[in-house]
Amino acid sequence: MKPVLSLTDVWLRYDSHQPWVLREINIHIDEGDWVTIIGANGSGKSSFIRLMNGLLQPTKGEVIVCGMSASDPEKFIDIRKEVGMVFQNAENQIVGITVEEDTSFGLDNLGFPRDEIASRCQEVWNVLGLHDKQDSPPHLLSGGEKQKLAIAGVLVMQPRIILFDEPASMLDAKSAQQLYALMADLHQKGCTIIVVTQEVEDMFHGNRLVMMHEGGIRYDGSPLEAVKQSSIFQDCRLRPPFRTRMRDIAANWDMESWLESVE
């Protein structure tokens, strides 16, 4: 399968006097993948995903998004139609004075016809459960609803890839669970999902896990394989997930098979 997103020997620094923020990044992501990116504070996760929609340009190397080079200024608009991004703090991407205005902002700017905008908005609100809020001003929404509104603005653009930058960090447990259910739904419909998170436990949602450390990729593979190796987490200065911690205990007593039976 042709990768929908590929980074080849990518290096990034913000200034030639500064150390490299990302080094030797090679990754090819297939259409329909769900990739979870974890790493300690400052490991380069956020810079990494900002390369994927052209928000940042690599210092060296090549980024290809849906067959287009992310360094080609003429492709910027086309790339952003294909790649949506949900920021950590939803309030940073809310621009409209009502839910309706905010949701339609992107389509309005691209000059979509009125009825097309209306039908796409309606569809997205139905999926997200915002249909009765369309006239509400965003500042009166709860944290979880604001997050949904930010996602609505991204979904109406019908992107092939959605990047999430720590989407659950401001949410309570229930809203976070609902958000992941929504992401699973989008994934089911064929969207490629890329999530950066601080929550190691969230890695089990995806089919692929990328662990970053000091600007490089330390692990790229199945989350279920990573669970068996607590040393990778320690190398990346992360606390291993609960399952891995329990495995380590069980291993002292040759009880892995027992543990698997409980899991």
Partner: protein
């Protein structure tokens, strides 16, 4: 210093069209030296509750008492503030000083310390939060990592040596090791100096691991007030208001399903589970262990 709340109501923008009652009829006491976690969904009133305790918001009705001070009266609030340390959410958004030293010292002006005393105090608390004073004191707060900045904000609050420490999501936005570190610092100070800690968190895992008591706020009311060991017993009450089981709780459920008769009902910390398993296997009951396979 004990904290008492008696039928407290918290209202934002009273007597305007935007008026909103965020808390209603809250009565509770927090005895000196307790480690209390405040939980609840977004918008339930957690921050309002801790801000009322700190005297940053004034009760629309009812009484908030911190030690001997009734917080409804202004001169009392000033006295109580000497005993209170408050760390707001995302403290790194409000850095105003040019160096780490000045940032920590900014909150200590009222203590009347000499220059030397101030130096010592700042150095001492930088070390409490695990940062080398020589390396950090002249650094700019804008050139250090988010986790370090959070520790510095915590050092600033601790340096005033409060009797009551109030924290609004002190670990939000930090990575897993940094979270453990910050909480370990807080727990250590709590145990060493016997100070009261009242902290807001969305993480049930943390609340169970570190606190002696969990207050659950729901739609402006005190919904539950429980010890972490009661979480499993009272799960039916907590689930409908948005509590989600932690990996440990899910594991214990499955453990009990698989091995009926094992006494894990009262467990709520990972250590307890680990020592249970270790004891069982190390305690010579090899048969029992074999039975697991």
């Amino acid at each position: 210093m004990d904290i008492h709340l008696e039928r407290v109501t918290g209202v934002y923008s009273p007597k305007t069209p935007y008026t909103k009652t965020a808390l209603e009829g809250i009565s509770l006491s927090i005895p000196s030296g307790q480690f209390v976690a405040v939980m609840g969904v977004n918008g339930s009133g957690k921050t309002t509750l801790v801000q009322l305790i700190c005297g940053l918001l004034h009760a629309a009705s009812g009484h908030v008492k911190v030690g001997p001070y009734d917080m409804n009266k202004k001169p009392n609030r000033r006295r109580a503030w000497r005993a209170l340390g408050y760390l707001p959410q995302y403290p790194e958004h409000q850095v105003t000083e040019d160096t780490v030293f000045n940032h920590i010292a900014a909150g200590l002006g009222h203590l009347g310390l000499t220059d030397e005393g101030m130096n010592e105090r700042v150095q001492q608390y930088l070390e409490v939060v695990g940062l080398c004073s020589e390396r950090y004191k002249n650094a700019s707060p804008f050139q250090i990592s988010g986790g370090e900045l959070r520790r510095i904000a915590l050092a600033g609050v601790l340096a005033a040596e409060p009797n009551i420490l109030v924290l609004d999501e002190p670990t939000a936005g930090l990575d897993s090791l940094e979270r453990l570190y910050i909480l370990a610092c807080i727990k250590q100070i709590h145990l060493k100096k016997g100070i009261t800690v009242c902290y807001i968190t969305h993480r049930l895992e943390e609340a169970m691991e570190y606190s002696d008591r969990i207050l659950v706020v729901e739609q402006g009311r005190l919904y539950a007030d429980l010890h972490p060991s009661e979480i499993r017993l009272r799960w039916r009450e907590l689930e409908p208001i948005g509590f989600v089981k932690t990996p440990l709780l899910r594991f214990l459920d499955q453990f009990e399903k698989r091995f009926a008769g094992h006494r894990t009902q009262s467990m709520y910390k990972e250590d307890q589970l680990v020592s249970y398993i270790t004891e069982m296997c190390a305690g010579g009951s090899q048969d029992e262990c074999n039975g697991f396979d």
